[in-house]
């Protein structure tokens, strides 16, 4: 179909243009083959696979501990959540109950990771819409989270901090104080984001009623994460199938029913507030205890299929492991939220303008390595 679109000779009415793989607004190597009529988008065909690395195939050759570092490289902006997904699958398959302390720390770091990811999304989204200053403000604040990560885990972007059974090492003694300082700081700075971008009349005009998708369509297309919640689809795995500490903390699922780009934007901004709430509930009560349970050096999962859902910063990340009883998984499948979210871009951007296509793909918050795996 794409070939058809490409080979069709451009008529007076419609012509095709390639956005990507080397394009500033695709945030990586994604390619949109866009059919345009003047400035109006008539059809969008995404082309992915430019950084397909075969992570699923690589996993089949590695042990369960060794898989973890590969998941970092999928959705590198919520690396910790990806790690936790695999660990949770292995732990639930082996019926291991991790210590409370691990659950607390995992939850806190995951929420910090979510904030960091949303901050980077905010930078990039502002930049997509032409407001370059957002980029620097967002990154400035994200650095503080990365510093917290680095102090405890040793890694800034990709941490490999989780391992089946717990954590690689204990948190740094400064961790709690630094997180509290960060939250205090970020509560002060986050309203600036609103003043700079959210309230701005140009921004509102650019995003309101752009890229509409209804709730039914969102469910049908499997649009999850903030993108789905912007349409009113209550898809937060933290609520629907709680893991870690999420069934014990108070937080509300952010839902907007408008289904447009602005709604998806607002979900993410509100999620940052909500994540801070979650962290504040947990940070003071981290129980003492071990940071990991003792695992055998070689983990062997029982024969069977194991499925685990987690809420990554972009949507529902599912890990599906088929085991044949060996130390290596027989088959590992990651359900990438980005790939599924991308499938809706064609209907969302139909009859919108090129500038809107950029805004819509920005509001879906696509991370290409996760998509291609």
């Amino acid at each position: 179909m794409v070939e058809e679109v490409q080979n069709k000779i451009d008529t007076e009415e419609e012509y095709t243009i390639n956005m990507g793989p080397q394009h500033p607004s695709t945030h990586g190597v994604l390619r949109f083959v866009v059919s345009l009529k003047g400035e109006i988008v008539k059809n969008v065909q995404p082309h992915c696979g430019y950084i397909h690395r075969g992570i699923e195939r690589m996993c089949e050759k590695l042990t369960y501990q060794q898989i973890i570092h590969l998941t970092d490289r999928m959705d590198y902006l919520s690396a910790h959540i990806n790690n936790a997904a695999v660990c949770l699958t292995v732990e639930s398959a082996l019926d291991i109950e991790v210590p409370e302390r691990v659950k607390y720390i995992r939850t806190i770091i995951e929420e910090l990771n979510r904030i960091a990811s949303h901050q980077l999304w905010w930078c990039a989204f502002g930049m997509d819409l032409g407001g370059l200053t957002c980029f620097f403000y967002g990154l400035r604040d994200r650095e503080k989270i990365l510093d917290i990560f680095e102090e405890s885990t040793g890694g800034r972007l990709i941490q490999s901090y989780n391992c089946p059974g717990g954590l690689m090492n204990d948190i740094h003694p400064n961790f709690q104080q630094k997180v509290k300082d960060f939250i205090k700081y970020f509560r002060k700075v986050l309203p600036e984001y609103d003043q700079l971008l959210t309230g701005n009349v140009i921004f509102q005009e650019r995003t309101k009623k752009v890229g509409y998708i209804s709730k039914e369509e969102a469910i049908n297309y499997g649009l999850t994460g903030p993108s789905g919640r912007g349409s009113g689809f209550a898809c937060d795995v933290r609520k629907r199938a709680p893991y870690h500490m999420y069934d014990k903390v108070n937080f509300k699922e952010i839902l907007y029913t408008e289904g447009d780009t602005l709604a998806r934007y607002k979900v993410r901004i509100d999620e940052m507030w909500e994540s801070m709430n979650i962290i504040e509930q947990l940070i003071d009560n981290i129980p003492e205890g071990d940071f990991a349970v003792k695992m055998k050096p070689i983990i062997k999962l029982p024969e069977g299929e194991f499925f685990q859902r987690v809420e990554s910063a972009r949507g529902e990340l599912d890990v599906f492991i088929v085991s044949d009883g060996n130390k290596n998984p027989y088959r590992v499948k990651f359900r990438s939220p980005n790939l599924v979210n991308l499938s809706a871009i064609n209907i969302m951007s139909k009859d919108q303008k090129i500038a809107d296509l950029v805004a819509i793909s920005g509001s879906l918050d696509l991370v290409i390595p996760c998509m291609d795996r």
Binding site: V2, G222, K333, R335, V340
Partner: protein
């Protein structure tokens, strides 16, 4: 619905289904030709209402190719896994569920690309990640690529 109720419901919809109780989810194994009709019934039946396809994965078993459908209901929040296998490794064919869940479009393209299972009635079945002229399906166990895969 609890897993028990789901089990009864699935059996009432299609009596030939083999149901295995996994760790979290019920795994319902059905033949490839029955899958689509069962999925359709499960989606459209009011008390099951499986309206959201979470995950669609293909597995290359030693003897046959399998496809897993993890579906959930946004209304009742119960989930189930459907499994189907085909013994034909050269021309493996499964009915597409695109008309039930549109998110299946990309999932099925991915499975087609990496495992070579063809989905009939899919609107646009072509490779997802690899080039259109790529030979072979990399996630199959018998796939070998001496240039890019280093065996240890």
């Amino acid at each position: 619905m609890t897993n028990e109720q789901l089990k009864e419901k699935v059996l009432s919809l299609y009596s030939g289904a083999q149901i295995a109780e996994g760790k979290q989810l019920l795994t319902v194994t059905v033949p490839a030709e029955e899958l689509y009709s069962l999925a359709k019934k499960l989606k459209e039946s009011d008390d099951t209402a499986f309206d959201y396809l979470m995950c669609l994965s293909g597995v290359d078993y030693p003897t046959n190719l399998g496809v897993f459908y993890h579906i959930t209901s946004t209304k009742y929040n119960h989930s189930i896994a459907l499994k189907t296998t085909t013994a034909d490794r050269v021309n493996a064919e499964v009915d597409s569920v695109y008309s039930l869940w549109k998110s299946a479009e990309y999932h099925e393209r991915e499975v087609y690309d990496l495992l070579g299972i063809k989905f009939t009635n899919h609107p646009d079945l072509r490779r997802m990640f690899l080039d259109d002229d790529w030979v072979g399906h990399p996630l199959r166990k018998d796939y070998s690529d001496p240039l890019n895969i280093i065996e240890r």
